[in-house]
Symmetry: C2
Subunit: 441 residues, 2 copies
Amino acid sequence: MSLNDLFDPDSIAVIGASKTPGKLGNDAMANAKEFDGPVYPVNPSGDGSVYGYDFVESVADTDADLALCCVPGPVTPEVIEECGEAGVGAAVVFAGGFAEAGGQGIELQADVQSIAEEYDIAVLGPNTAGHIIPHRHLFSSFVPGFDEIDSGDVAIAAQSGGVGVTATFQLDREGYGTAGMYGLGNRVNTDFDEVIPMLDDDSEVDAIALHIEGTDQIDSVIEAVEAASTPVVALKSGNEMEEFVQAHTAAPIQESERYERPFTNGGAVMADSLTELLDASRVLAQCPQADGPNVGLVTAQAGPGIMMADYLDERGVNFPELTEDTRERLDDILPGFTYDRNPVDTGRPMPEFGDVIDAVGRDDNVDIVLVYEIFEHSLGYPVEELEQLTADIDKPVVFTVAGPDAALSDDRDRMEDLGVATFDSPERGAYAASVLAETSR
Amino acid sequence: MSLNDLFDPDSIAVIGASKTPGKLGNDAMANAKEFDGPVYPVNPSGDGSVYGYDFVESVADTDADLALCCVPGPVTPEVIEECGEAGVGAAVVFAGGFAEAGGQGIELQADVQSIAEEYDIAVLGPNTAGHIIPHRHLFSSFVPGFDEIDSGDVAIAAQSGGVGVTATFQLDREGYGTAGMYGLGNRVNTDFDEVIPMLDDDSEVDAIALHIEGTDQIDSVIEAVEAASTPVVALKSGNEMEEFVQAHTAAPIQESERYERPFTNGGAVMADSLTELLDASRVLAQCPQADGPNVGLVTAQAGPGIMMADYLDERGVNFPELTEDTRERLDDILPGFTYDRNPVDTGRPMPEFGDVIDAVGRDDNVDIVLVYEIFEHSLGYPVEELEQLTADIDKPVVFTVAGPDAALSDDRDRMEDLGVATFDSPERGAYAASVLAETSR
């Protein structure tokens, strides 16, 4: 089975497309209409057009590679069979009521699975919110607003569509897009072990975020994580409440411990919350890998700096001594520092702050540069100095921002463009640095 | 010593006021100009006016209650003496170079302290970003942008001005104001034990957030926390890096443990990060105290719900069984639930979602209502149902939002107006519920 038609289709059929606002088949069309290639709304009782696309009676009348199935669970096997006969290579099944519901749902899912196997169709779901790939203008989901999600460098593969949707909107709210969101749902034949290698091959994907509740394919998922050259971050959910978890995506109950050691040995990071999952993915996507775990911390305000130092210290992260050269340079830049060891604190923003970061960043003992500065209008952030520094050194730089949000956003964007990862609270900046230390060479 | 003139002055002198943009005395005037009463820019070499206020030569020429000292450290004792002779009751000292710098700075601070004592002046600082009380239009700080901070219900008392500023802007970024931010700095005679009772007496303050690095007044601080009837949340910082901490606000090194047990026994909450400090304060300010620790969790998407259940379960929070009555009512509302125990999951947003929350919220076994729902345009959030529910029951309700930010903000604001606390990620909503459980009767 190939996932090609799921990830890079030439044309799309929306089966069960509808003109009625609020209906699944209308919401799916609202997103699918963004696609650059042909889009076919399929509905035998469809009349005229929807979003400018003429209804067709049957998927057999199309050359679609990918079918979005906006039909109730019980008719899904029949629809998948029609897709197979029409030469469709991939299908997204939104409906629930399959294995997660138990009883007849289990048989229904088995039917879908065997038909998909017969026709060699990659099925995403059932019981999924679908997937989006903004850089391909592919939004195969019923979630309103998804057509406005930008491209980004983090891809999300979520067992729960709800988690994938929440994560996507959280990235969007903070000004980031996604390199793809995949809701896996019941994983009839498209599981983490199929999706991870495909994301690893996509040059637009710079980090892979996984939300896992449980899968029978655990061994091949671990192999896929080990084999990936793209950074992987995973959040394991569903450690308790067995019945609730099974009623959700029909996942087997698996303790986090079954994933934790093999994943981290394979180079992946385990996150403890959705925000950690996204922040770890973002910093790994954005920054070069660190050569070692040693953090140089530069702060313009000691109080938040102390909080960050506490955070990193608790996680065993090292603040190396700075070299004699660096300390001499620091003394030249700014005699009478508030604190000139590591952390280096200037006590307040000042025109020399960029030079101070530069000095610490070029120190041979420092592998990871972590900065904290509250924005001041009159100074701005030291973007020019960071441009020079990041051009000269191949070290990750994390900049923790604070201050009036609207005022700092331009400088923040410019830093992001340089490959400086930015975070907006002390604990998030410190967490990002701890992830870089954990994944260093 | 009274803090009256610090907290509710009738008039303000800005000593060292300046017309030059970027200078401390100009930034302080830019904020002070928002005050409703007289504002006196004091500068013997001042010419004409600044922000519409005429310069005066000396603080002796004013009837100021509160003086903002925008002067270098070494002249501060002299300025405080002039304030004392002019009848000023409170002074904010922004300058650094006092006890935190060691050496002569220690003597300088002792001088300020004895003069303040002689004249009975409440001194905030030295080495502080000042304080703001938006509901009194009092912005006695040099931080640009502070004049635009709105009123809110959480007051912040931060040992580090930088942490206070960061916290204030974090609340602002998320759409909230503050009931006051106080940067305590070196605490020459205004320490946590003086500020807490004052905040406790302010009817605008519904929760008190403390950022503590260390204080010699620890016993009276603990007493003040125990005595407060307003909820208190504390973040203890500076457990490591002794030299760095001492160079900051001249704080004694104190392990978190010295605060943790007495504070929690006294009814306060200990937070582990700045975001937790603000979220805990916000939920305690917003919601009624819970009668017990039992959480009823209602979700429209199971995946994030499972994450929240994991989070709460790890913290020992209880999901009680629902009563027979509630389960019957749930079955009437929605036959064929995805999951109808507690958590109660509808699997997707739907018109009945508000009724489901209502049923769980009225259950006698439930003390705290926690909701998760991704926003959908066509449905909105169940504001009407929540209005009725919150009018009828005196239980805290936490609503965790997700989705396209701009679309949901109106409904979010309307829920906040009802006293429903809202949070925008699964772990933040779950954390807020855990704080309510911890502080229940």
